[in-house]
């Protein structure tokens, strides 16, 4: 894998192009000392640099990073790391060798999130097909606002969205890929607001009465951030209590809705979570949907953490293939059960430098006005290529396997009677005394043996949250985690 690539030479000097020189007054070759013709970069140097950096990336950042015999992280304190990296940006440039060395350092001191013992976040593992798609995207650097600039990716995004709408169980639908699940949740709020009060787009929030959002106490914090950003206000996010498994209590939801209405506020959206961030709990979607139908509220299901079951009664769904399916960051979808072009109507600004009405192709292919962004990366491609490579069946198998591994760990955990764990599908939560977890975390990071996240919950204990989602881990890796926590914390 570290052998040199034999590829055709990069294009030579543009001056040697097929077009013959025009007769006429002599051209200026330079202007104020700056050469005007030809690339400033030596083509041979560019080729060599790219080949060498790619070899290194494949060897160090891909191959070694997934090797269980290597460390997950090479911990350095911030001050030490600053010195090691020599971050300062100067007037003069550097040689190829120096730049390659810098790449090597960046790899060395970065956390290997694809390592089998990385359980710190809700993403993990290496998905080579989506990575190839990322590389292609970076090389082509397209932007997804119009068909003319991104023909392939426009069609691809559409194909993936259609398939996902089918999987959710809707007859029709729309959607868009976003810069993260937080943004998908924001879109849901914006569309729900626009559906009920379209005049807000022009006149602002003050054109309507005080709007309120409902969500469980276990929901992702992006709901609160969205409310703040969109001028709704975090106090107008009504937090519905959940039961001891972390599931929203439907009767409490209805109480809160009634209470909000009696205050003169206007409920407009309920956010239900399928797979909460800390406990991995699933809100009872059917019962919540009944309530939403009764009060005519928009039901959004934040399903970023899991797969798409039982969301078909929702008006919108947020889902992140970059989590459980391991597509490269970022890969987040927002789906909406709508065929009235609500996304477009809600967000459009019809900029005439992009969305000219006199184009020579069907304008409905230009998706830019569905988004609040302008330039947008074609993240759907990562998912499309991976899906083509693996097929739906294999993707399903991965999800099933994650669950099977979680269950098998759960089965073994009685060996560790000193832990009183909880389990919710893909999470296993190991509660420890408050002071113990940070010490064990520090030790595991300085040793570089693994990374598992902890957080407080209910103020009583810090929980280690073992997230079982990557199909690349095996039962041995799970056993290792339990053993390692035990051995690192033995003296505590």
């Amino acid at each position: 894998l570290s052998s040199a690539y034999s590829v055709p030479r990069f294009t030579s000097d543009p001056l040697a192009s097929a077009f013959p020189a025009q007769p006429g007054p002599p051209r200026r070759n330079a202007w104020d000392g700056v050469p005007l013709n030809g690339s400033p970069l030596d083509d041979l140097a560019a080729e060599s640099f790219l080949q060498r950096s790619m070899s290194m990336i494949l060897e160090e950042a891909v191959k070694k990073a997934t090797d269980v015999r290597q460390k997950v992280c090479e911990w350095r304190s911030p001050e030490e790391l600053k010195e090691l990296l020599d971050l300062e940006l100067r007037d003069g440039g550097e040689s190829e060798a120096q730049i390659l060395e810098r790449c090597r350092d960046a790899i060395r001191y970065s956390v290997k999130t694809t390592h089998p013992h990385f359980f710190n976040q809700l993403y993990a593992g290496l998905e080579p097909y989506s990575m190839v798609a990322s590389f292609i995207t970076d090389a082509l650097k397209p932007s997804l606002y119009t068909y003319e600039v991104s023909p392939v990716f426009t069609l691809m995004e559409d194909a993936v969205l259609r398939k996902m709408v089918q999987i959710v169980g809707w007859e029709e639908g729309d959607g868009i890929f976003n810069a993260g699940g937080s943004m998908s949740n924001m879109y849901a709020m914006n569309l729900a607001r626009y559906r009920d009060f379209p005049e807000i787009k022009e006149l602002g929030n003050s054109a309507a009465a005080r709007l309120v959002v409902f969500t469980s106490q276990e929901c992702h914090y992006s709901i609160s951030k969205a409310a703040a950003l969109m001028g709704i206000g975090t106090k107008n996010v009504f937090v519905v209590p959940s039961d001891k498994r972390g599931k929203m209590i439907p009767s409490a939801l209805e109480e809160q809705i009634k209470s909000a209405k009696s205050e003169g506020a206007v409920p407009f959206i309920v956010n239900a979570t399928a797979g909460t961030t800390v406990l991995g709990a699933f809100d009872p979607i059917d019962e919540i949907a009944d309530i939403c139908e009764k009060y005519k509220l928009w039901l959004h299901v934040d399903s970023v953490m899991s797969h798409l079951f039982s969301s078909h009664r929702a008006n919108s769904v947020a889902w992140n293939p970059h989590k459980m399916l391991m597509a490269c960051l970022q890969c987040s979808v927002f789906l909406i059960r709508d065929k009235t072009r609500l996304l477009q109507r809600c967000h459009s600004a019809r900029a005439s430098y992009l969305f000219q009405q006199d184009k020579f192709y069907d304008l409905s292919y230009d998706t830019g006005d569905k988004s609040v962004q302008c330039s947008r990366k074609p993240d759907a491609f990562k998912f499309w290529l991976m899906w083509k490579a693996l097929g739906t069946r294999e993707l399903e198998q991965r999800v099933d396997r994650a669950l099977a591994i979680a269950r098998s760990v759960w089965g073994n955990i009685s060996d560790f009677a000193w832990l009183k764990p909880l389990s919710n599908f893909y999470f296993i939560l190991l509660p420890l005394y408050l002071q113990v977890a940070p010490v064990i975390k520090e030790r595991m990071m300085k040793k570089g043996s693994m990374m598992v996240g902890y957080q407080p919950h209910g103020g009583k204990a810090n929980f280690f949250r073992m997230v079982v989602i990557s199909p690349q881990v095996s039962r041995q890796d799970m056993d290792f985690v339990l053993d390692e926590i035990h051995s690192l914390g033995m003296d505590l």
Partner: protein, 442 residues
Amino acid sequence: MEPTVGDLSDPLINHTEGQLFLHEAFKIIVEEVLCKGTDVKEKVCEWKEPEELALLLDLELREKGEQKEKLLQRVRDVAKYSVKTSHPRFFNQQFAGVDYHSLAGRFLSEALNTNLFTYEVAPVFVLMEAEVLRGLRELVGWTEGDGLFCPGGSTSNMYALNLARYRLYPEVKSQGLWSLPRLTIFTSPESHYSVKKGAAFMGFGMDNVIFVKGAVPHFVSCTSGTTVQGAFDPLDRIADVCDKHKLWLHVDAAWGGSVLFSKKHRHLMKGVNRANSVAWNPHKMLVAGLQCSVLLLKDTTNLLKKCHGANASYLFQQDKFYDVNLDIGDKSVQCSRKVDCLKLWLMWKAVGSTGLEQRVDKAFFHTRYLVEQMKKRDGFQLLREVAPVIKERMMKQGTMMVGYQPLGDRVNFFRITILSPLISQKDLDFFLDEIERLGNDV
């Protein structure tokens, strides 16, 4: 051999196979996208009608997977039918060209697959982002400040709007806009449409993006390098007005910010140091590659964090074993946030500020050359109906890509964006010749 769910002792993914695929796909990328994609002898685009292209690509997602050879062919097809935005004759948008150092930085960012909310998960990049932001702020003229990388200039502009609003009325974070007077936003008609989109999204309302009597002005967004005409608003004079009325001054320098690297041209942004916030997209004039967008702030009171923070305890535990101020996630409205600083940092290290300055200067020289040439040619006036026809022809022939749009009540005109360090005079001459050739009979 198909692995079964029951076989839990082995990893499900075959790493050797995956790495081999990466290796072979990379060869195709180099050949098709980087070599051919920058070659003037090749087309800028291989135009196909949407229906035809959908068939060619065989988009359907099926139950079963596919073999490696088939997938490599798919990689080839994607490259073939995609627009070559690094081609010397691609002038359609405000990004173009290719920088190989930033490209390596982009590949590396993807391979490491992490995001920037905490020091523990992304130690290198948290520190790197801080240093890049510091370097950019220095060019603006600030010795202190704050900022972060955003998923695009539109988001940067939204952040500025949010911070200005929060600074004036911090209670808006919890109470929303209901109890506030109507807030207005000032910007020029030439500004980017993201100001309006942001206003709608954030509850201000698009109608409040112009001066309205009886409302409370709170924000001025001026532009350094407008989207269509590339104009630079007079920052010093606008700053005078903002100082007098105590308004937040935001400079949308998504396009023009890069002139700050150039000693010759930075005068265009004179007064930028008086702004409260600056949006700047190195993926435009500096060729850093999408996405690379920054928001810079003069603020030193941790306003970003106060405005956006939600203190999620599963990420930002206060009992960590390192300085938790390094966990910058709460500055953002995002949760996961991609590493976009590496591409810029690596490129900057490779060519130095001087190299980036030369890049900007060269773009200006090329523009001046083109204007000179255009003046020498007669009949360079275009009528409304002509531009779409010429555009259609250039795309179907794949010889170049230049955008057109109407401006006000004036006719369609072509906007040639000159920024790529890879183009030469020949390419600019070609542009003029080709427009003439394509429009000859119209």
